[in-house]
Amino acid sequence: MTRRLWLRGLRARLLAAFALVTMLGAAAAVWSSAGSASTALVTSYQQQLTQTIDEQIGAVTPQLTYPPDQDALDQLRAAVGTNTLVIYEDLRSVDGADTDLVTDELRSAVRAENRLATQRITVDGKPWLLVGTPIMITAPDGTRTPSGIEVYSVRDLTDVEREIDGLTMSAITTAALALPLSVLAASLAAGSVLRPVRELRDTAGRLAAGDLDARSPPQGADELAELTATINEMAESVQTSIAAMERMQADAKRFAADVSHELRTPLSTLTAVVEILADTTDEMEPDARESAQMAITETHRLVRLVEDLMEVSRFDAGTARLRVEEVDVVGAVRDSLRARGWLDRVELVAPEETLLRLDRRRLDVIVANLVGNALRHGEPPVRVHVSASSEQVWITVTDSGAGLPEHVLPHVFGRFYKADAARTRTPGSGLGLAIALENARLHGGDLTVDNIDRGGGGGARFVLRLPKDPEER
């Protein structure tokens, strides 16, 4: 299992394959050379032994009495050397104990073929060469007939084997020397393949992390270089389209900011004069009075909308700044409710005092938006619950209405999102919850929404979470 894991790396696999191929090649070379060398060695040694015996016999036969007596056999055996057995009919001449090794197989072959025969055997791990031959009588015309004399000789092949073993060992050593060289070569080859792969991986990682300027310099003209070029092209086109998109988005945001900025001047005038209008409605005709009231209400709405738009623009532009100070959250929430006359419509459940470093104005905006939303769209009673741990503070706003439909939940914080298409005329700007969420995030906290009872029947629940130390986010 470990091995499989280890082999998962490209480098490891390349190295292993390279080393394996080298070792197999070396082993094959060793095997074939050692094999052929040992075969050649054994064959030549065997031929030499056989020839010697043949010559030794040939040297004494012309002087040998025929039919031979025991003396003649002994003479022949002495000429061939130790470990030799000479037979003629019932006569035997033996020297050396190892002649017992002569096999029946060899004897019958010698008798059947009337030719010199050899056999290699291994007894107790020791190699032996058996040589057996009849001695022939040759007529003057070349006709050969067996003389009835048989010579068997046993020769020790241990020296040859030792020589062969030495040969094999040196070949294996040579092959083993090839291993570190092959590993070195494999590392170099793997490195040359893997370096561009690693560079590509780093580049892709940087691209994924958002660094769209990341590129890999293509090297050479192989497949990897083509891949590198393709990835570079891809990065290029992604960068271009993202840049275009960002430009368009920035343009749109700047446009919204500019529009609301421009609206502020006429609104300043309107705000100034509708008050005068409001003071004088008593003296008006009913129609005119209603019209004046509408103008006043709508002006205030417009002011609120423009203010919210500018607030959102500041978040978009990243210019919104926190002004943190030590604040008692419970007191701040209570002040928010009191300032809007909501204290008797909202149930506040909170510990006595919870100190927190935050932007008091932004907290007020969040609370006002959440509670205002609950009062407008939910059913009473509306509850605000403040709780705290050592690291965070939660402010939960719940109502007792039917809750929000499941499909609405993900869009609640969207800008100008209206859950109910028919109910488009609400006193809110449509940006309140979006601004509340941005404010929560600016504090390093967040704002989430769900229903108390997911099955329905429970009201909507907004949870504002604020970290105790906004610097540590």
Binding site: V42, I57, T61, T118
Partner: protein, 157 residues
């Protein structure tokens, strides 16, 4: 995969050491034993005839030629080689040629007598394991072109 590894190991091991074999042929068996030697004489019709001499062993070419020079004895055969007081012949065996140095002059032998010498030498050579295609040069005591001729036996070869 495992089987491949075992095969590779087996192949490697097979290359090592001296392996036993069955019985293999080692060529011609040695020869050279014989109950006696073959000499060549001439019969009544003037033809070459081999004569067996039971000497107990084959012996050398030189020994055979000495016996030949001593004559056929009482066997109804005759020799066409003049008798000599020193029946000893020098023999040099080379791979293709046997050179004989006789104690005779060219006048001491008839062509048939030369055949007697050549056949006896070759017969002994062949019985001792020599090749039948070996040729014989017979040298005489006095210089003669016949000394350089390479001869074969009409009965052998």
């Amino acid at each position: 995969m495992k089987r491949v590894w075992w095969a590779a190991v087996a192949l490697l091991v097979a290359g090592c050491g001296v392996q036993p074999t069955g019985v293999t042929d080692g060529g011609e068996a040695p020869t050279g034993v014989a109950p006696g030697v073959t000499l060549y004489f001439v019969d009544a019709d003037g033809e070459l005839r081999p004569q067996q001499r039971q000497t107990g062993s084959l012996g050398t070419i030189s020994e055979a030629l000495s016996l030949l020079l001593l004559g056929p004895g009482g066997s109804g055969l005759r020799t066409e080689i003049a008798s000599t007081s020193t029946p000893r012949v020098g023999v040099t065996v080379e791979p293709e040629v046997i050179e004989l140095v006789t104690p005779l002059t060219i006048d001491d032998v008839t062509p048939l007598g030369i055949d007697q010498i050549v056949c006896t030498a070759l017969s002994t050579h062949v019985q001792g394991g020599g090749s039948r295609s070996t040729e014989v040069r017979v040298r005489f005591t006095l210089p003669t072109p016949e000394s350089d001729e390479q001869r074969t036996c009409p009965l052998i070869g």
